[in-house]
Subunit: 705 residues, 2 copies
């Protein structure tokens, strides 16, 4: 930001600063924070470090700069204030106030006055409670702000820059990822960039953002080994594994485990990846037995949790013993192939997609619509989708907002064509005189051509291994067929094609294509992360936004009801349709996802995904899913066309009769309750209307049963 | 076409011809047919003229050319053959055969052989019956082909070129329309073209294509004055009027009328516009009392029908006596503001839109999707939409295939904005000291601001007349408001906004936008002319195409069911939705159209429109609509959200229980029956499936009642 006594018209970024603030202590040693600060400038740090230690915590280079340039250095524990006044992790008001108190831009008293007026104006529509929290925060800044004594000469210093990527990584990591992590992407040469847009997956784990001040701590003795914490974690930062007793040799001292229930000879472990955790607390709130509590990250680090998660990470994945992967508990012993994304803390979208990768990730191809999921899913250069030990994981791509279903449809058609050609080559090989063992393996593959279970995958792997060798001694005709089979060997196992996106895509911008692709009757799966609003672009209303909700373009509350995408898709009769909310019913969600994937035609799952735009405490995002279903605000159902073949009703309503009034649900979310502060009468009217709508909708769906 | 002994690679059009054929005698004198024919060339004419008169019927210029260039002139009555073998008006096989017999391109015997093989191949999938008709036609050509004796010198000749436009027309007509009518548009200068794309309406009536060999003849004594012939006519070429007895002074001798039933002092007249009629016979088939028969056009012309329609046309329109315009009969006393379009004979679309113009045409704005209706509705330079005596008629525009609902939505928003501003100006005027009579008139307009009935229109006209005069003496502030009101005076009466298009638009390419506009909850009317296929582009399958129907991209029969657009739109709850088929139930169609227009929110009418692509006898197009409903193949229903406000079920099923099996309906249309010839088993399977589908759909809709 630039300030002047006369209006500033020229447009340029600041490279030499009078004032620099660092709002997160994790940035120290990661970014070049003070590189451009002017002599006698001011540096403001938000940290929970004691005044006595704050200077020493800086990197040596920063310390030197502060001394050399005579910088005034202030520290404040902004998070503490924010938490105590009820603002959770939001430190913006605190830091803004601190800025005006020490930057000299405005007179202190005048600044405070103006900030308070601005707060009243900005947060007014979010309710008096929010305004009061912010005003309280302002009042506490002066006292909490500490100017740190700076030595006149550099003391003995041993705080280097943080190491961001391990040694021995490839060029892409060293030349692209690392500079970008340090916000120095401008220095990357064009010649170093990938030529074709291809980016290696599994690199989000390099980031280790360490942004959580507090992280969950596992109280093993309370744990009932249900895996629900792992199931709901938006970042795959809390995981569970079954570990064979013998694999635990050499474990770190504080690496505690439980005797696994129902898995003889195994230990059970819940591990928090403290440097990847975003501190959303969803797991803590989901735990049915108080087996998780939040603890300061430094305490957990001191407890050896960094070494613990590194050790845990290296332990074998996908150890299920007798548990089935198609269950809530079993699925969480599978390696998540989506991890450590940059989604908001408590995000309602990522747990669903993480689950998809645990179930189908090793053969999954994703067409991703533009929106939040294209940001947390594929922001250059680090990718949260990753691979298992066999090098298999989701292939992911994003085209446009408006063509994602079609994009996925193209993937399906390509895979279908490849598999047809591959099958033909194998069938021709069966007619040739080839080695008996090879013939048997090919035969087994052809026999169970569409099977995707473990034996099928083993058979495919075996065949893949056999072919190159067989080709060496094969006749010319056979060799040609084998070459073709090797060319297409990635298609020995059927792919699982998913078009992912939000409601902005599925209900609005991409709906025309979505409808067309569903109508095409090909085997493609659509997963709609329904946040009921354009989340990533800043909260505009979509056709999924329910009546009465405040959103951009609907500042006075949306005056039309939510579009019924599920009903529209069910009208085809041959489309698998499900509406789910994992926080309300994990088993129903598991069942729907597996049915959709197994259905040999088009499938669509509409999943309720609470969002920071809803104006809720995101640590309770899963609980809000349950509230939504309890109030009949969100319906759980499945429409499986296969049931028709058996003479059964294809429709199953999984929602129970509402036990909560819609009003109670609406009151719990600021996107609805906020309207009362601005237009109380209209709010009442819209809420009444919405109440009737949800009630009538439930009745209409009940009639389908 | 060019022929050569070696393959022809160069691309150019022929301007000097060895052979010229004229397939329709109405073209004589209209186009420069023989301008480029070579010396000793061959000219083939399809006409019902006797050998003895054929030469004399040509224009003098043509006669001179034939003599000068020593042209061999042949005549054949191709229509007679086509009709006798069952091909109706299709003369292509006859003319093609004649070409090969006399052009010398191929040996005659070889040509016949090849034509027959080609017929078997081309029409095979339409059934043996069609093949046989065509083969029979081929066999009759040789005998019917007559070489006309040509005099060696030009005889006394008085056959000039036909006059295509009346004297005294404007520049656009003389400089643009007339040359284009004569296929000489290439000669129009850019500087003569309209700058902004604006084209005058009401110009299709200049065309007088006279393409009908036979036209309906009214047998007044059989007529029960039901107006159904006029209701169903696709071209507004048969009309009815009530005429005051005194207005009939000076009528032509053969202008017969009936004493009007239920309208004292009026005569009733049915008039055929013989030069605009396309000879589709739909009216004849619709007439409940055999009051219409087809007669050769020359006979009717001899009877004075040209003078009759000119006289009829000049009689006052919109004389309703005590009849209501909202009834089937009453609506047909209103002037159609869509007339003489170039739609196919028997078109199922145009009668609907013609009806819309009779009901709302004087205040109608049309956004037209690309497709048939953009061709028959707005092909440059002649426009079938026209104006009434007050100069009011539909304003029409076409944007793209994919944005037509949005285009209409923009029109609605613009009108809404204009009307808001106009109302504001008038309201402010009411507060000023203005002339009492003016104040009263403005007050009346404001009081009934949304009214569109006759008193409202009279009031608006009165106000329009008063304002300019009042402005002359008004105070400055008042004058400013009056100027604004005059600027916006066209909006004194609310507009009726219609987005028109076919299923290619509404179900497929424009569906995303259509859905969005319907969801917007603004007052816009959508009319879908559902031909169940991309008609104009050549018969590709759309999502509206039902299972088992043959179409492009579905040559083996479409294997998915028809999309249920109505159900999707009903899921909003606040969209007026109707499914109609005028041929099955004219009253239901009338009711739906009026309810849709009156509904103050979004409305959509899905209208069954038989199409030449269906492989049916288009003279029976209205009857096919009835068959479709009788078989439960097409549903009649209305969903009126206003009923909800009265605590009633918004849904009304107007279809009765099917009385005809779906199979019988499918067998009656070649798009379905044709599949049996190519894939009999698949045809059976798909038809069975379709049967189940339609049955289940009826049951599902019945549940909604």
């Amino acid at each position: 930001m630039r300030f002047g006594k006369t209006p500033i018209h020229s447009q340029y970024l600041v490279t030499r600063e009078d004032f620099v603030a660092c709002h997160n202590q994790a940035f120290i040693g990661r970014f070049d924070i003070l590189g451009g600060i002017k002599d006698n400038g001011v540096f403001l740090l938000n940290s929970n470090w004691e005044s006595s230690e704050a200077f020493d915590k800086l990197t040596c280079a920063m310390q030197q700069t502060i001394i050399d340039r005579k910088i005034k250095f202030y520290n404040i524990d902004g998070l503490k204030i924010a938490e105590e006044v009820g603002l959770g992790g939001r430190v913006n008001t605190v830091m803004q106030t601190a800025f005006f108190l020490i930057s000299g831009v405005l007179d202190r008293e005048e600044a405070i006055q103006l900030i308070k007026e601005s707060i009243t104006k900005t947060y007014g529509r979010k309710g008096q409670e929010v305004v009061d929290m912010n005003l309280k925060a302002v009042d506490r800044v002066n006292e909490a702000l500490v100017q740190i004594d700076v030595p006149t000469m550099l003391p003995a210093c041993n705080t280097p820059n943080k190491k961001l990527v391990p040694d021995g990584m490839n060029d892409f990591t060293n030349n692209i990822i690392e500079p970008i992590m340090r916000e120095m992407g401008d220095q990357i040469k064009v010649s170093q960039m990938p030529l074709d847009g291809f980016v290696e997956t599994g690199t989000a784990r390099l980031e280790k953002r360490s942004v959580a001040a507090a992280v969950p701590h596992w109280i093993a003795e309370n744990c009932i080994q249900c895996n629900q914490c792992s199931f709901v974690c938006p970042h795959a930062a809390i995981r569970s594994k079954l570990v064979k007793d013998e694999d635990l040799n050499g474990k770190p001292a504080s690496f505690n485990t439980l005797k696994a229930m129902g898995a003889e000879g195994h230990q059970y472990k819940i591990q928090v990846y403290i440097d990847d955790c975003q501190s959303c607390r969803v797991c803590v709130n989901e735990c049915p037995k108080a087996a998780l509590v939040m603890k300061p990250i430094e305490e957990e680090r001191a407890n050896g949790e960094q070494a613990n998660y590194e050790y845990f990470d290296a332990l074998p994945n996908d150890v299920l013993a007798n548990f089935k992967e198609g269950t809530v508990k079993g699925s969480q012993f599978k390696q998540p192939l989506l991890e450590f994304s940059g989604a908001c803390a408590g995000c309602g979208q990522t747990p669903y997609i993480k689950l998809l990768t645990q179930l189908f990730g090793d053969r999954m191809i994703i067409a991703n619509a533009t929106g939040c999921s294209s940001i947390w899913g594929g922001t250059f250069p680090t990718i949260p989708y990753c691979k298992n030990k066999d090098g298999k994981g989701p292939a992911w791509a994003n085209s446009l907002f408006e063509d994602n279903a079609e994009y996925g449809y193209g993937m399906r058609l390509a895979v279908r064509s490849h598999r047809k050609l591959l099958k033909l080559a194998l069938q021709h090989l069966m007619e040739k005189s080839i080695d008996a063992a090879l013939k048997e393996t090919i035969g087994a593959r052809l026999e169970a051509w569409d099977a995707v279970d473990a034996p099928a995958k083993e058979n495919a792997a075996k065949l893949k291994a056999m072919l190159p060798k067989a080709m060496e001694t094969a006749c010319e005709g056979c060799a040609k067929l084998m070459r073709r089979a090797i060319e297409l060997q990635d298609y020995l196992i059927e792919k699982s094609i998913w078009a992912l996106g939000g409601d902005g895509w599925a209900y609005d911008i991409g709906f025309g294509g979505l409808d067309h692709v569903m109508a095409s009757n090909h085997n493609i799966n659509v997963f709609v992360m329904d946040t009921e609003v354009y989340s990533n672009t800043g909260g505009q209303a979509s056709k999924s936004t329910p009546m009465g909700s405040i959103a951009r373009f609907a500042e006075a509350g949306k005056n039309t009801s939510k579009k019924d995408l599920g009903m529209m898709m069910m009208s085809y009769g041959y489309v698998y349709v499900a509406s789910i909310a994992m926080g309300a019913n994990k088993n129903q969600a598991m069942q729907a996802i597996q049915e959709a994937e197994a259905y040999p035609g088009p499938s669509i799952i509409i999943a309720y995904a609470p969002c920071i735009n809803h104006g809720i405490d995101m640590s309770m995002s899963q609980k809000h899913e349950k509230l939504a279903v309890d109030a009949g605000y969100w319906l759980l159902y499945r429409y499986n066309p296969l049931n028709k073949l058996q003479g059964k009703n294809p429709f199953t309503l999984d929602s129970k009769e509402p036990t909560l009034s819609v009003q109670e649900f609406l009151n719990a979310e600021k996107r609805y309750s906020g309207l009362k502060n601005i237009f109380p009468e209209r709010a009442q009217e819209l809420n009444d209307c919405a109440g009737t709508f949800f009630k009538e909708r439930y009745e209409a769906y009940k009639k389908l049963t």
